[in-house]
Symmetry: D2
């Protein structure tokens, strides 16, 4: 799949009407995801990196209360003082907060109460937007922020469910996307001076700017992602036991954690199974491999006599050539450390804590996964995680020097 | 308070009727405790030492299913195979189990489903007992086991609630017991050859046997527990900063954990407050100090020019002299390591894993706390915890050589 | 071997002469042990529990400087101010000190310089003793203290050498003691009221007092220690894989540390070898097993249908019956937690930190090992270590209820 | 200081004579550094990241034995089989090795024995080189490798000495370089297409290649490094207490480690002192700040309204403008993650493990420090460390967008 356009609106609708429609679509999607989960499901936190579903629901709501309603909605009455403390994430400028590894201890407010918190804020937001007094850019940022948490809601819940002997489904009824039959081919790209980063209108995060030129050498890019069957070959060839394939830091993790397969793979009597959004299921050899760390992706590429593409190569190729599985399957690790673009300036105030403070030690992923909400990803979108993390829907696509 | 007799029954009732009544009283008490808690409350696990309320409810039920219904109720149909795995605690002979630190990840079955599991087992148990076919001793053991978990249910939930900014009440409406006004006095005891351990009829755990003689020197025992006001003096006198008062292992913990007061004490603007079963409340200087570790109790006693009583001294004094606050307030640390009595033989089979395997590295507590269910404690009862643990309702009573 | 008497002196020698001779014998033994070691050997620290040989040499010297020469030798000039900081061990009342896990970082003063420090103090001590002005009891305590460190010097150095691919010898030329041929037999003891603890003259540590009566039930005691061949049977019978044989805390360590044999055993192509004081050597099946933790000793006893003796049983049996291998082979774990004797009062001042502060979480060992210096052990001697420690020369002897 | 040329040789000397002279100069420098240290100094390891001096001396020798003499010197007799195991570093392809955190346990061979090992190998190398049979490129690599370890020898020893209360000098008599008086000024650079990486003859590491074009925007670069007096202002302005100045990962380290100043700074009664190569000395406010992590350098730059230069900016500016303190003072953190240059191919075989396997999670430093051996640094030289490391001689120079 390629990037989908954000939902279109009839030309006659006013800007406020469009914003409200967008607000309601995004906010409703969060609640639809949560509806498949029990109050207990929504409360659990399976590791410090993950957050409870209830916390995602509250935190995204807190964003609107803290940054939009508080400063902009005259006479707005906060829902509950405790929420300000409980649902702050990492905004050091805003105030103290529940320590991240202890978010799972927040049994109260209940899932139902958080639903009422959401309704309270939604009502105030609808009034503010309807009155044409909402700061549009900030509201859009809040919605994009909520979409990011929608993806985390899925991956965090799946991590907890994978630790349960019952292996419940986060997305009941989910199936692998169709069209995974073909063999990967190599696309030749000439490189040159490429324009990288977001230009023109529409929403973008600050880390996608400024748009700038990058010098690319000729390169080749695979038109499809690496598949589970490819990964099985890597495993059978001793990939997890061959130190020369690995970065030194990665090899240390392999040994310490005892990695022998992607996260969520289980070697049952009946063969490999995989914990997925639909629960535990037999491994589909045709599907793009997912839940591999950057270390694994990098080692696989070396084993395959290839390398990962840089984020500039990936972005440059989009639009020039036909790539399969850009979105809707897996995020794709790149060879690029997550760093500021030349001339990058973070936004002022608390909003400025959004992206810039993470620009070290992490690697960029491009594309989008089945857990990415519709219309959220963009060709210039920069996702990023530490190179040892595996609980995101992360896979890879190969590249080579021409 | 002194030890309360177990509930009496009319003389005319049959043995089976009495057992059933006892069964229903104990089982009902668990559900009454849980009724004040939400589904999310019941799911949370705040540290590896603690277990979720839902797990306590399930595990105590599993005990009856595994040890009573399975072997003794012909044609008994188990409620759910997953429960056998999920609700096993530490019985290595029974089979694999959910790792203890990950009990909080069991979001499913839900609290409601666990209620149905309990009802299913209760129905089968009622039939078995009513038919006069229940193994009485084993059922009694199961009920005593459930009572132990009732106390843990309260202390574990309180530990999680203490980590919440809302500080909810585990026992809504709870108040400090009355009658804490008097000053402590010293009681003189002659010692000699004392009979220690459980004799005669009635239920007892294996660790209370065999009854045996112990040689006691003359000693003095405080008739009341150490109070919060005494503890404040210890703190003001630098108790937590004076290494010579402490065991070497204890001093290491004090420094590593930064202890400066009992667990759950908070130094607010308005003075000391304490997290208790009723939520956060101002510290009552008259109440027995609680939530102190053995290390703290031992250091306090040294500071006070006294020592902790041995468990034999404590047991011997009961009945000879009038002690206040034996039960209903706090468990009381003794000077005695938890070790087998001379001639101790653990019960055969899985039941034998019950007490014996913990007989090293722990210290004995005697008495009983506000969280101990009615009729559970006995003068020969041996409670035990590691000397650094503080989340139990643990306090102390002083002793001296005569 | 049985307990050896301290070296005898001619009747005509004065008390000061005898003390000086004793001083020189003990101090000389330390230097003889160190003489087999290189400067680098003497500097290394292989784990926080162990100390460098150079530190042992300095710390035992510091004891005399700090507690004897400083207060008692008028005009004594200290050797070097840094030594006061570097060679304090755990005497919190004396002042700050080098953190224990960082003793191995003390590359300076050199081994040679520490030798000069020892000579400086020895000269002053000889003058003080010769002048008849030495506090005799304190000097004796210092010598006993030094003998304890002589044993640690051997076991700590052996721990470091066991981590070296060269496996050097701490005691070059050492051989297993002779006379290990016989089979163990059971000795019957009637028990009764036994007098436990040190009485009469001669040196004893404070923890051996006060002498008191203990009530013992009839018991049986093995006349020999458990041998390596017995331990091999335990291993072959799955001893390290059977959880029901183990204390719960011990089983956790077995799994976490992956124990499958005593410390220092290595399964080579040619069969089992053992790192010992003479370096790596084939395992002698006749020798008493050593370097087992209390957890292992306790599990072995359970497997053998026996138990460990209490320290009172061990002490009571000495003198009544003929026991082999009491000293000269291995320290022997008992069933007794290390706690104060009834009426125990620690010595006043810094000396009082000596034993009392360790009286929790540790188990008593009795007897004496090949590393114990001549004349150091006594029938009332209480050695003690945490139940998971294995780097001491620790083995076991079995007991049973009669 | 600027980069110094490698030592010149008379035009008439043969290539073999030049190589031998170079060999002897470099090898001799290692021994001169070690000569100021005692056998115990050379054995100690103060943290897993650091290695003992003796190990550096052995490992650099092992390099010549393993990669040069073994394959190229017919009939070469190895010095000692144990050295192959003990002195391998991280070459997984070569075989097993002493675990890195346990290098400090290698008390034997002694420092003297390692000196004999070096002499043995030096003799064989002299013969091989003299016979004109030495693989020149490999020998040069070995010498550059040894120079890298000369710098580590100094920084690792200083880390151990900083943990000693005696604070000995690694480089006795060392003084801060002269000429630190001036104020920093900004240099304007136009950017454009810059050629980056090593071209032409002379030695270079594989990570300096291939030479390639990089597109640079106009930028400004400070002509001097940040000074201790600047750092004191940052500290006084709350730099270590202001989360918005820090990367998120860095702020976590600041809080966990309690950083409030650069490593080796000590706040004495007489003001700030600094542990340096000459021992503990009063802090010189004019000297370039050193022993700061990348996190600190990055936070300082943000506080100063500037940023770190990229490695391409740094390399490009050299030669175009006059920079002070390029070498001889501190390595200078850049904004660049350590990644392969476009088209990078690691060398084949074990040598290929040299640089490539570290190309993730680390940041590039440029320049050279007082601990860098003469003639070792180059304008294209890429040094690299993880962003939390502080024991290297690391400082910074500021940059800005034009």
């Amino acid at each position: 799949m390629q990037f989908a356009a954000p939902p279109a609106h009839a030309a006659s609708t006013s800007s406020a009407e469009r914003l409200l429609a967008e607000y309601q679509i995004v906010r409703g999607h969060t609640e639809r995801l949560a509806a498949a989960l029990t109050p207990e499901d929504q409360c659990v936190q399976s590791m410090p990196d993950a957050s409870p579903v209830k916390w995602h629901r509250g935190h995204t709501t807190w964003f609107f209360e803290e940054f939009v309603l508080g400063p902009h909605a005259q006479g707005y009455a906060g829902f509950d003082a405790a929420c300000r403390f409980l649902f702050n994430s990492y905004y050091d400028t805003v105030g103290p907060r529940q320590p991240r590894p202890r978010r799972g201890l927040i049994t109260r407010p209940s899932a139902g109460e958080v639903g009422r918190y959401r309704a309270h804020v939604d009502q105030a937001m609808a009034a503010l937007i309807g009155a044409g007094e909402a700061p549009g850019a900030l509201v859009l940022l809040g919605l994009q922020h909520e979409q990011q948490h929608q993806e985390l809601l899925v991956t965090d819940m799946m991590h907890a469910f994978a630790a349960s002997p019952l292996a419940p489904a986060v997305l009941p009824g989910w199936r692998e996307p169709a069209g995974m039959e073909g063999e990967a081919g190599w696309l030749d790209l000439a490189g040159g001076l490429a324009t990288i980063g977001h230009r023109g209108g529409g929403f973008r995060f600050d880390n996608e700017t400024p748009s700038h030129l990058a010098l690319l050498r000729p390169y080749r890019l695979a038109d499809r992602c690496v598949r589970n069957r490819n990964w099985l070959e890597f495993m059978q060839d001793g990939g997890y036991r061959t130190p020369t394939l690995w970065m030194s830091d990665g090899w240390e993790v392999v040994q310490r954690e005892g990695w022998t397969a992607p996260l969520y793979w289980r070697d049952n009597e009946a063969g490999w199974a995989q914990m997925g959004p639909g629960g535990l299921a037999p491994l589909d050899p045709r599907a793009p491999v997912r839940h591999v760390s950057w270390y694994e992706a990098d080692a696989f590429a070396r084993w395959a006599g290839a390398r990962l593409p840089t984020e500039e190569e990936f972005e440059h190729a989009l639009g020039l050539v036909a790539l399969h599985e850009v979105t809707g399957h897996v995020w794709q690790w790149t060879a690029s450390p997550y760093r500021p673009y030349p001339g990058f300036v973070p936004a002022a105030g608390a909003i400025g804590e959004y992206n810039g403070k993470f620009m070290v030690n992490q690697m960029v992923l491009r594309g989008g996964s089945f857990a990415s909400p519709p219309g959220h990803a963009r060709p210039t979108y920069r996702n990023f995680f530490h190179p040892d993390r595996r609980w995101q829907v992360s896979g890879l696509r190969l590249a080579r020097d021409a």
